[in-house]
C-alpha cells in the first residue's frame, strides 16, 4: 500500500462511516452535520486523486450551500430537533436487504473488473487552470445550457414557494411577513449559484 492509498482509505472510511450515521441517526440536525463530515472527507479524497478544483467546489457548494439549505429546510418544516421516533419508515429491513445486495453486487463486480488497473497520480491534472480551459474551450455549450437550467430551477423555486403564499395570504389576510420570509428563502439560495 502506498501513502496515497493509506490516506485515501482513511478518508474513505470516514466518508462511508459518516454516511452510515447520516442514514441511521435519530436526530435530524445531526444527520445534516454528519453530511458535512462525509462531504468534507470526499473533498479530501478528490484532493488525493489530484482533482483539486473539484475538491474546492465540493467544499464551497456542498458543505457551504447545500447543507445550509437542508438545515433551513429542517427549521422551516419545524422538524423535531431532539431525538425523534418515527424518522424511519416501516420498511427498514427490506431497505437493508436491498442496500446490502447492491453493495455486494457492485463491489464484487468492480473488484473483479478493475483489480489490475492502476492510477498514476500526477499533480496538475485537476487544477483550475486545466479545468477552466477544458470548460471554456470544449464544454461551452453544456455550460450555457446548465446556466439556463439553473435559471429555470430558480424560477421554479420562486413560483412554488411564492405563488401559493400570495393566495393564502390574500385568503387569510394576515400571513404576510411570515409567508414572505418562507417564500424568499429558496429563491435567494438559488440566486447565489
Amino acid at each position: 500500500m502506498t501513502t496515497a492509498e493509506i490516506v485515501f482509505t482513511a478518508l474513505g472510511v470516514v466518508a462511508v462511516g459518516a454516511g452510515v450515521l447520516v442514514v441511521t441517526t435519530r436526530q435530524i440536525v445531526h444527520a445534516a452535520l454528519w453530511l458535512v463530515v462525509s462531504f468534507g472527507a470526499l473533498a479530501g479524497m478528490y484532493l488525493v486523486l489530484t482533482a483539486e478544483f473539484v475538491a474546492w467546489v465540493q467544499v464551497l457548494i456542498y458543505v457551504g450551500a447545500i447543507v445550509v439549505l437542508l438545515l433551513f429546510g429542517i427549521m422551516l418544516t419545524r422538524a423535531p430537533i431532539g431525538p425523534g421516533e418515527g424518522m424511519d419508515s416501516g420498511n427498514r429491513l427490506p431497505a437493508l436487504a436491498v442496500a446490502v445486495g447492491t453493495a455486494a453486487v457492485l463491489v464484487t463486480l468492480l473488484v473483479r473488473g478493475f483489480k489490475d488497473a492502476r492510477i498514476e497520480l500526477e499533480p496538475g491534472g485537476g487544477s483550475a487552470d486545466a479545468l477552466g480551459e477544458a470548460i471554456f474551450r470544449e464544454w461551452v455549450l453544456p455550460f450555457e445550457v446548465l446556466s439556463v437550467l439553473l435559471l429555470a430551477a430558480l424560477v421554479g423555486a420562486i413560483v412554488l414557494s411564492k405563488g401559493r403564499a400570495r393566495t393564502t395570504a390574500a385568503e387569510r389576510g394576515s400571513a404576510g411577513p411570515d409567508a414572505g420570509a418562507r417564500g424568499s428563502s429558496p429563491g435567494s439560495k438559488g440566486r447565489e449559484r
Partner: protein, 107 residues
C-alpha cells in the same frame, strides 16, 4: 494507486444512499440520502477521469455539472417539501398517500 479503492468506496457510499432513500421517512432525510448517492457517482467520475487521463477532462467537468444539477435539485426539492409542509403539516413520505388505490379515506 489502484482503481479499486475509489470505485469500492463509491459503491459503498451509493449503497448507504440507497438504504437511506428506502428506509427514511422524513422527506429532507430522503433528500440527504440522494445527495450521498450523487456524491458516490461524482467520486467515480473523478477517479475514471484521473485514471484515463482524459485530454478534455470530461470526468471532472461532468462532476462540476453534476454538482450544479444537484444544487438545482435541492433548491427545487426543498421548495416542494416546504409547499407540502404548508399544505399537509407533515413531510413524511409514507403518509402522502392520497393517490393510493384503496377505498380508505385520504388522510
Amino acid at each position: 494507486m489502484s482503481v479499486v479503492y475509489p470505485v469500492v468506496f463509491s459503491a459503498l457510499l451509493f449503497s448507504v444512499g440507497v438504504y437511506g432513500v428506502l428506509a427514511r421517512r422524513n422527506a429532507i432525510l430522503v433528500l440527504m440520502s440522494v445527495e450521498l448517492m450523487l456524491n458516490a457517482v461524482n467520486l467515480n467520475l473523478v477517479a475514471f477521469d484521473v485514471w484515463l487521463r482524459d485530454a478534455l477532462h470530461g470526468g471532472q467537468v461532468l462532476t462540476l455539472f453534476t454538482i450544479v444539477v444537484a444544487a438545482a435539485e435541492v433548491g427545487l426539492g426543498l421548495a416542494i417539501v416546504l409547499l407540502l409542509y404548508r399544505n399537509r403539516r407533515n413531510i413524511d413520505v409514507d403518509r402522502q398517500d392520497t393517490l393510493r388505490e384503496t377505498k380508505q379515506e385520504a388522510r
